[in-house]
Every structure is written in C-alpha cells, then in structure tokens.
C-alpha cells in the first residue's frame, strides 16, 4: 500500500493501489508512526502509483499536513494524474500543500 524513504529530515511516501476510506484508515496509522518522529520536517507524497483515489486521500494528506506544519515543516505532492489533480484542486489542497 505504501513504501517510504527517509533522507535527513525528509520523508517520502509512495502510495500505491486503491486509496479509499478503508485504505485511508490503515495508512493513517502506519504513516503517522513515521511522521510522529519530530525530526521529519518535510513530507512528500508520491501518488504516481495510485490506481484509484477518492476524497479519502484528501483527508489523509491534509491530516498529515496539520501534524507536520505544527512543527514548522512542509508537505508536497507529486505524480498526480489529471483526476487526482482535479480532486486536490477542488478541495483546496494546493493552498497549503506544495505541488511538485
């Protein structure tokens, strides 16, 4: 469902498969185990391997943004196709999350 890499204070998360409400509940816990490390100041979501995403993905990303931004960190997304880009745009994700 995801793989990750930590480099210095940057955490990159590659999401894959289908990101719906059920998957988001699981991912939230697993990603938070990594994000809760106070050294993480930069979080990058790579969504290029996602086969499906609905608005549950928005909640997942904004929720992590709230955590990381509290300690002065930033969040970015990359690899979005047209559909996911539309979802991020309509929900205002790009107002707080950088689009790479």
């Amino acid at each position: 469902m995801f793989s990750y890499e930590v480099r210095r204070n940057a955490l990159t998360v590659w999401l894959s498969g289908e990101l719906d409400d059920r998957a988001a509940a699981r991912l939230r816990k697993e990603i938070d185990a990594l994000v809760d490390d106070a050294r993480v100041r930069r979080l990058i979501f790579d969504v290029s391997e996602l086969e499906f995403m609905d608005s549950s993905g928005i909640g997942l990303i904004i929720g992590r943004y709230k955590k990381v931004s509290k300690r002065g960190g930033s969040v970015a997304v990359t690899g979005q196709d047209r559909r996911i880009d539309k979802l991020f745009q309509m929900s205002g994700v790009y107002q707080v999350v950088e689009r790479l």
Binding site: A24, R28, R83, M90
Partner: protein, 157 residues
C-alpha cells in the same frame, strides 16, 4: 428511473451488501462491470467509480455510522446511454441536504473527513439527486451520459 417517451431501460441491476468498508471497493468493481457494455472511456469509468465510492462511503460512514445495515446499489442504463446509479441506505438520514452538499461540510470533524463527498460526485457526474429523511435513510442518484465516443468506436451488437 422512468424514462420519458421513447427512452427505454436496456439493462438493470440490484445489489445489497452489508455496510462495511470492505464493500467500498466491491461496489466500485460491480459498477465498472455493469457499465462496460456502454463502451465507456477510461475517463468515464474512473469518473463513475469515484462518484460511487463517495456515495457508498457516505452511506457506510454517515448513514449507518458503524451500525449494522444494508446498502443497496440500483443501476440502470437507457437507450440514450444514460447511466443511473442509486445508492440507497436506511440509516440516519441527512438533516439539511443543502448544507451537506456544500464543499467542506462534514459531521465527522475529528476523523479527517474532507467533507468533499457531494462536491466530488457533482463534478464527476452530470447530475446528482439526493433524497433523505431523518431516521429513514438517504438515496443518492448519480446520473451520467456515457459512450460519447460511439462514433469513433462502434459498439459491438
């Protein structure tokens, strides 16, 4: 789902399943399979899957809110390539439909719900109709005209 004058329903399906999150992906698969004879583009297929996912998740998370219940999918398509998908629950119902359809509206603040469900349905479908009564449940009707590429790729008869 009554068609006007000459518009006839070609195919119809009904599916009942328990309101558990395992079935969100199942519902998406069923609807993709059901609409395949309409020869949809990948884009149309993904649009409908996304809208169905939002409606089914709403039924499970908000309609039943963790309680046991049944979600019903009722699908149909017509001679005019209009696809109808009804997502029906007998859950708690929506108090104020107009508010619920606004972007960022959510009754589940602490749970990281984006409140974008209806907004997403509306932007990926041609039409979304919502009927709801408190304590009785909610019916969301998703409507989309499919197979806009018929001229380029003739359908097998």
């Amino acid at each position: 789902m009554k068609g006007e004058s000459n518009v006839k329903i070609i195919n119809e399906m009904r599916l009942d399943f328990p309101a558990i999150s395992e079935n969100e992906g199942f519902a998406r698969m069923v609807v993709s399979g059901f609409m395949l004879p309409l020869n949809p583009t990948m884009e149309e297929l993904a649009d409908v899957k996304t809208a169905v996912s939002e409606a089914v998740t709403n039924a499970i998370v908000h309609g039943y809110g963790g309680r046991r219940g049944t979600v019903r999918l009722h699908g149909a398509y017509t001679t005019e390539n209009l696809l109808y998908i009804d997502v029906i629950d007998k859950g708690r119902g929506i108090a104020d439909i107009e508010s619920a359809r606004q972007p960022f509206f959510t009754t589940a603040e602490g749970e990281e719900r984006s409140g974008m469900g209806f907004t997403v349905m509306e932007s990926f479908m041609d039409q979304v109709e919502v009927k709801s009564a408190l304590g009785e449940g909610t019916t969301v009707r998703l409507i989309k005209r499919v197979d806009q590429r018929e001229a380029a790729l003739p359908r097998r008869s």
